[in-house]
Symmetry: D4
Subunit: 248 residues, 8 copies
């Protein structure tokens, strides 16, 4: 809270430079700014080309359609994650230019040009079953204005495949590692690079995998430094996080 | 793997510039380089002023003393985490300039000057019981050459305290949030900033806290974007991660 | 156990005012009264306008219909929770005035006027996905004769929204906080009010949420005082509890 | 945020009624008030006779002594929970009138008279091993200005003992039920009363008790309405919560 | 292993009383007898009127039909648990006298008269949702030749209902208590009787019930003596166990 | 509730045989009797020779001594479980005839002769590390007036040892099986006998044993019929249960 | 890494026997060989008759069809696990000689003759519900060139059945034990043989089985030596492991 | 069961070749042989040089001393695991040639020469904190007559160290991989070799490691084939298993 700013407003009201109505309006905003209103705006709306985000899981098709309709009036880019075929049909009726990444369950609508980062995010995954999470991360990272490289199917049971891709992984500014089963890929990559690694455990597996718990615990306990972890299957969160870092 | 490098060696062997023995020696090393040897060196030794790290938990006093003795011969900075009083006594007998942060259980020995970053890492914690983890993170971040700001005791049950410190938190390039009990601080800060947040759940609490599980799950499930998580009480890992990001 | 009451009966039997058969009948009921029969009656039937409650989960449409039919003969208000569309159709055929809150899966039949409390219960929730639990709590609280204020979508990732509603929350006599994911809203509100807070974790979330476990543990470990917790998704229980407090 | 209030201040500054410094001071406080500063003060300091609270677990004797020393300068009542014998010795050297409930591990210092509530809180427990939690709750409730009735050792395996105490339990305005092992007492009492019941699972038990988890789950799943739950062994939290309700 | 028996055989072979072939046949059976072959026969086939048992879960309709067809050739009573409607149709085509308890998912075929015990098993349950498990236990106990008394809907939230049935419960030789949610009924009954109580936790409940875990843990931790526990929803096992005890 | 009893009292009051005060006194006791007072007495005190039981865990030496002192005045047999050496010293100073089973941590004082059952309880265990639980069960069963046979160290990894003892196991009226690690002994014995088996998982083991959870789950899921389970390490409960069955 | 091999290449380049391009190509492959490329080849392709493996779970019918189409071009044997009926239809349209083990959900295509081992793998299971896992293991072991013996339905509740098959089990070089529920079969067999036992817990069971966790923990805690464990329901993994051992 | 063997005995008894007493003695042993007595003997005693094993955890010093004393009379080699310093002192007083591996907590006494295998077991570990488990496995494998190679500190965070040791690992007949934290080493080695891998999770780690659960789950879910798992910290079991395989 900037006391000088308040003082200045009071001075300009006293001097008649500002009228009282303007003073009220400005001062009424202060607590919101202090509390982070602008920040949240920054997060979601103010920065050029940042998309509106809809998390579709647990919402009805009508709810998703309604939210999209409203957002389209603002002429912003839109990113809808965990979207079903039905939701895509509904959105397409509103925005014929909407695109659907079926594997990643992501709908994107581009209405504004974005400046794409020069540095890139590498999204690496262990097996083909992890691809849905990879695609969610990929579409998210792209819509947030990042250059992205996908490196798929480099699980630790075939180290030579990983080694043949290691230079492109090392070239990234931040690395997203997506892996289910035992999640060992995060540790192996963490030992080969000196960039921040964001690990995404996936629910790929069965039995003692317990819905991704095995990979989650493995990643949290990684013996390699420089690794942090997001929720199971949270491709969006990993990409969002990577995007913040990539744009620092 | 650099094909040109191999070609060159072959040429110089063919031309007699290099003898065969030298060619064998150089080529025999190639896979190691490809596998990240240099990288790991970069991680731990090559960069100017980066410390040697000893994780003392589960080691005897004698083992820690022995490792330190060897490291001192390399004249590098040394960072020993989870160190006991007895270990400090043993190390001090080797290096009288060793310092001990008792709360954080961290021993530091400085033998080389480091360049300190201009941007800073903010380390924020919820309660006074989280301070040991804060101190581990603080000492680690400092030894890795970062400017650091500590903001303690800004738990969500007293939001006004957090708000009064929000500007210094927002000014950081990356934020480490340390919180036990229900770990809500990570979500609240995540909603107020647009910087990467590394959340460290602590084992502070009792009963249904289950040794930090409550905070860990809360942080993994945060409704705020831009948060990633490290292991319970892993102040070192959070700081290491933050340091990589701060130096990008 | 009221000794005077027993004494009086014995006296009136001795005097011949009551015959022995009546004495036996009355005395035979005593233990039941002592054991809480009246209390349970008070809970469910005796107080003016208190509804009969049917918990529909795990019951067949026929069972729910049968129970409703019987209850309608008593001319009481009826509240059926966790009710499906089919159950609503069946009940409507019996009671055309039945109403269905589809989101909250609650059927209500009003046959008696209730006195509405002057003080109100605030039901606050973090995200739109928590609304089904909010609606269950809302309909329950209303049918139990409470004035209710709903405040939706004030999750901690956007504190300014919460702050703009804080006065209406503080005005309540008791507050129900409904939140899934990391459940941090309970702690934040608990730190801003001095009223009893009943926290309802919801099963909203995925991965390491473990069906609401993350929010449940977070709420049980809240660093804010004055918070107690009910079962995951238990909107009915929270509202019932809040109603008892609101009417003290 | 009251726009009229801001307008008035601006008018009085413009008119010269208030000088600019006073205007700055008043306006600078606004956001804090909105954020609950006064509320938190109310919680802890402003209400007459409310004690300062120190949670001693995880603090050193010196830290507890230091905090107490500072608090004594404010001449408030002090309540220290989870305090050891050593902490009591340290505090007694500062305040010879300090008292120690060794079973409940609670230290109390009374420097101000409190108004005691007319309605009472009943604290009921199942077995003698639950008494430490009962005592923590008891001392807390008393220090917060409540009349309290303790009813011990009325576990469900001997219902007749519970029945003989049921009237005193029913007479309370709010009931705290403390039980370990299978925690059934909360359900049984919940079925016999129409007052809010705050259930405290305790860690009493062994084997498949898992440190209180059995009782915690039982209480969260109670078939009786009107029950809410706090953390395992959290006598303080239950009493704090009960106190808020008792004073409504 | 009876040495005398072997000695006798050897003697009678030596004396020519038995020929060598008979000696071989008898001796070859010895280990099987020692290992419990007869016992298992006793368990399942030898005792008069004991039924053949088919556990249908995880079997196909054809498999169940095939097993039944074979069993019918032995002219024994048959008990099929966890049976679906389709399985009943298939069995009925083989045995028109088959009966189906749809709620309990149990098919019974009676081909032999059983002697019914004079003492009885009491099967008590907390709520109507527990009835499927009660019915599985009821049909099992009946088919094993026991007199059975069912006492339904006497949950601990309405103790007066339980008390009104206590004499019939006390009259049993062994008591099966079926309860979901918090499973407190086992403890309450365990405190009121001096007969063996077999507790069956059910999966009735939601949220922190975790599929019956809450009731299971509660029953294992019961403060009342004389209670033992079977698997969640295991009505068959409880009845089988009770039958062994009832027939001692 | 005996209506005839009430009628008789009313008659004798009416006739003047009893005065009103006596009538009140007698009637006031009725509900207690109905609620099981006599039963609980039966459980603990009324039956000839049944011991008083003290569960020492979580009690101080002084508390145990005090309880014992009081119980000795009643001249009953006393059984104290989970007792330490210190407790034994304290009790011995009161009752020089007290005996201590150090392995089972059980103290016994015999002041009354008991009639010993003719049928016996077999207590079987898998390994020598399970002996403390066996001894707790053994002393309990003996003090409750049962003939007992102990069969130790017959784990399933050496089936021949078990087979050599199978006849003595089969001769019992009820069998207590004590096993840690994977708890397979309960299933194997359950398949070899037709008597009720009470399984006691022990906390013997390490790693993925999780304090007895492995054995507990195994026993609850036993493929053999006729097995019920008590809490981990609960030798007392198993013996108490077995005693009720043995005396049917 | 074979230094001689490098030396030879250098010599032949120097001498002009090999030109530089060939030298580069050969040397560029070295690290891959070092890193296990050949090994993995060995695992999957190089050894005579070893099949290509497709893990179908989580793949679409089209994906499985595509992968199979590609593999068929290599004229290798193919093993597809966790395959649905639809997948079999799709594959059959490509390879009319494909066979489907519906119970085990395994598709096999034989295009090359395999040498079958002389020693055999015994696959033993406890109950008929474990057969799907047995069949997956059986088909896998056969396709990997092993002689296999299946021994079904020898659960520990009927030891005599197991004993009658023990010689065929003992004759194997390695034993796969498949068991759900309490998984005791692994321990019992482990005590009867001196061959390596690979235990496969299955998800057969309900309630406190927790999807195979009970059997998994039991097997990990087995009191018999010589047992190792694979994931729940992992018939493929057990057979693969057994095959490696059988071919040593 | 060999019928011919029985026939022969009967014949020789009949003919007088054997007397009846001898016949009884031989026949009495038959069931034991059938049940695996010989096998277990083979396991523990019969094979030349196989040691007697004492698992010391949970035993008193006196018990361990007593068992050792008895075993020494048989003049066999002895292996005592999880032994303390005190136990070593006690054993040394009996057998001055006893040796103690303090790190692995293993005592060995060699009284018979063993034939050492030509093929070797490789025991590989990730970090120095895993060494106690490595040493337990090492001593066990040696005492069972195996040639052993230890490869320490080749965790996946430094792949180049692992690669430099890969040939010695590949040369083994069976590989034991010991790893705590995230246990990724098992997967990486499993992908690089074609030998059976026995994975031992260790309890090394903290926080979300949950006492070795993270590594255990990771290893069970390994994406590499050919891996089986033993209990957390079970170095003995892994070595025992490896020894059986090594000697096939």
């Amino acid at each position: 809270m900037d006391l000088k700013q308040i003082e200045e407003i009071l001075r300009s009201v006293k001097s008649g430079e500002k009228n009282i109505e303007d003073g009220v309006r400005i001062l009424a905003d202060l607590p919101y700014k202090d509390l982070g209103y602008a920040t949240i705006d920054n997060h979601r709306e103010i920065r050029n080309g940042y998309p509106e985000v809809i998390y579709c899981e647990g919402k009805t098709v009508d709810q998703v359609k309604g939210i999209t309709e409203y957002m389209l009036t603002k002429n912003e880019n839109i990113l809808a994650t965990r979207a079903t075929d039905e939701m895509f049909e509904a959105i397409k009726s509103l925005a014929p230019d909407a695109e659907y990444n079926r594997l990643g369950k992501v709908i994107t609508i581009k209405r504004k040009e974005q400046k794409i980062s020069e540095s890139y995010i590498a999204i690496v995954c262990a097996g083909t079953s992890d691809l849905p999470v990879v695609e969610e991360a990929y579409e998210t990272a792209k819509m947030l204005g990042n250059k992205v490289e996908k490196i798929a199917d480099v699980g630790v049971a075939g180290l030579h495949r990983l080694v043949s891709k290691i230079e492109i992984i090392r070239g990234a500014k931040v690395i997203v590692v997506v892996a289910g089963m035992e999640g060992a890929l995060a540790s192996v990559i963490g030992g080969l690079v000196d960039k921040p690694v964001i690990a995404v455990p996936t629910s790929v597996g069965y039995g003692a995998n317990f819905g991704g718990l095995a990979a989650l615990l493995a990643m949290l306990n990684s013996c390699a430094s420089g690794i942090s972890v997001v929720n199971i299957d949270n491709g969006f969160g990993a990409a969002y996080n990577a995007s913040i870092i990539n744009k620092l």
